[in-house]
């Protein structure tokens, strides 16, 4: 029997007490801090949880034991920063199947302070270690933007248009007291910021922060017994492509986006015009453009004008990355949890930069350097 839109709900959601620099917490404690906050949000104790999901390097057995949970379902799916979108999808399926009743998904990362953080260099025998690492990439800023010049050439995207992504997101961040950067910036500011990996400059690259978040899911039939407004899962999608950015099928589009996004829309039974609020994981400035096109919100090559003309700004028709995104809000290394948290806040009506009358929010994630994708459609209305 297939899962129906709205059958499973998020009943607990919270981020870590602090965001930014948290040198007084090890990585496992960031998971726990977020989990305890989410349990408080849902009015639950560890003994009420019977399912746990998280992504490596943290393992579900560490989280379960640390928090005092005895799970009968676990998921350690690790496909990078969108793993949480996949955890939501897998948890919904597990609750539907009866494998667990109340599932906790956690994220914590000491991205900035590196307290008990695990370095992840490619093994020299791996395909990445043999066929990418010898040519001098060093982390996401040198790998994620590898395709962007090809995209810019194909669609005639200017550096000014690519800079505008960061400018608009800063407008949202200005409305969010928890955002790391709130001061307004201009296209010129972006283009004058320090060069990191041409064509991307500092203000087109995500932050590096400490923090975390957690979600609690249960069946919608039980959701009415919780203190929070249920946030119904209407649909979800997932896919992976390649861990080697050089081997992407097409440098101007993500195959994983094109599988995950439409699947989530199909499951949810929604059209683009039904979407009131959108989060697109923005580790770097090009991702909102790829996301808008690959998810079908605009046609091929149209994202540059769509953003430039202000359609994703505060007050405009498609509010995008309303917490300020990975570019201005926070980015621990795995931002997907924060995109989901903002979607939950928006459909609950509790976001700092609240969009009026949000019924449906879409959170779209990316993992690795275009290596994976997950999409979740949320609503405050059960169909």
């Amino acid at each position: 029997m297939t899962i129906k839109p709205g059958e499973i709900a998020i009943v607990g959601a919270a981020e870590t007490t602090k965001l930014g620099a948290i040198p007084d917490m090890a990585q496992i404690m960031l998971h726990a801090d977020a989990a305890l906050n989410a349990m408080a949000d849902a009015g639950l104790k560890p003994s009420d949880i019977d399912g746990v999901a998280c992504v490596g390097p943290m393992m579900p057995q560490q989280i379960a034991h640390y928090l005092g949970i005895t799970p009968r379902w676990v998921d350690g799916t690790g496909v990078g920063g969108c793993s949480f979108m996949l955890h939501v999808r897998h948890a919904a399926a597990a609750i539907h199947a009866g494998y667990a009743k109340t599932i906790l998904i956690t994220h914590g990362e000491s991205g900035k302070s590196r307290v008990n953080a695990t370095p992840r260099p490619p093994e020299p025998q791996s395909l990445n270690g043999q066929f990418e690492a010898p040519f001098g990439p060093m982390g996401p800023p040198t790998l994620f933007p590898i395709p962007v010049l090809r995209y810019m050439k194909k669609y005639g995207v200017t550096h000014e248009q690519m800079a505008m992504v960061a400018v608009v997101q800063r407008e949202w961040a200005a409305k969010n007291p928890r955002a790391a950067f709130k001061d307004p910036i201009t296209v010129a500011d972006v283009l004058n910021s320090k060069m990191i990996a041409y064509p991307f400059r500092l203000l087109q690259c995500c932050l590096v922060t400490d923090g975390g978040g957690a979600l609690i899911l249960t069946s919608s039939d039980r959701a009415k017994d919780f203190p929070t407004k249920p946030c119904y899962i209407l649909g979800s999608g997932e896919s992976v492509e390649t861990t080697m950015v050089s081997q992407m099928e097409d440098f101007t589009s993500s195959r994983a986006f094109r599988v995950a996004g439409p699947e989530a829309f199909r499951m949810a039974g929604i059209k683009h015009s039904d979407v009131d609020h959108l989060m697109i994981y923005d580790a770097f400035a090009h991702l909102p453009m790829y996301g808008l096109e690959d998810l079908g919100f605009v046609g091929r090559g149209e994202a540059k004008d769509f953003i430039w003309e202000g359609n994703t700004r505060p007050g405009a028709k498609l509010p995008l990355n309303t917490n300020g995104g990975g570019l201005s809000y926070t980015h621990t290394g795995m931002y997907g949890m924060f995109a989901l948290q903002e979607s939950v806040r928006q459909v609950r009506g509790t976001a700092p930069a609240q969009v009026p009358d949000v019924t449906i929010s879409v959170a779209h994630g990316v993992g690795g350097m275009f290596s994976a994708s997950g999409t979740v459609v949320l609503s405050n209305q059960r169909p």
């Binding site: 001098g136 040198t142 590898i146 010049l149 090809r150 990191i196 041409y198």
Partner: protein, 138 residues
């Protein structure tokens, strides 16, 4: 052209050994699917297009075009910034990551779709990297 010390060094596995033996001998070896005739990369002893194990190794032309790149401005062991991390699209179809040598590391000099040719560059007695340079006559 010699490499500065400190670069990440690839360690071949049984599935990739022929490729690295090839670069050491001055040959760019690709594989092709026996069913579709399509070339692929990175090396593996079966076709990613059809799953067939009917595949063959062949010597590529060593010619390609500059598909995309970034110019990194931060220090990395084995490199002098700024340097380009590039992806070349080979004449035979597959793409591979590489560095562009004998060329200024600037957006003005590194023009997308410019013709490139392989420049085998020795790392040590076992490993030779397939770097690329602007094609002669271009």
């Amino acid at each position: 052209m010699t490499l500065e010390p400190g670069r990440a060094r690839p360690e071949p596995t049984p599935e990739t050994k022929h490729f690295w033996d090839g670069t050491r001998d001055g040959k760019l070896l690709l594989q092709r699917c026996g069913d579709t005739g399509k070339a692929y990369f990175p090396p593996r002893p079966f076709s990613p297009y059809t799953g067939t194990r009917n595949v063959e190794v062949f010597e590529a032309s060593g010619r390609g075009t500059l598909h995309s790149y970034v110019i990194h401005h931060r220090p990395v062991p084995g490199f002098k910034p700024p340097y380009a991390i590039a992806v070349v699209e080979l004449e035979e179809g597959p793409r591979m990551m590489t560095n562009i040598v004998d060329c200024p590391q600037t957006p003005e000099a590194l023009v997308l779709d410019m013709p490139l040719e392989v420049a085998f560059t020795k790392m040590d007695d076992d490993i030779t990297l397939p770097l690329f340079r602007p094609a002669k006559g271009s």
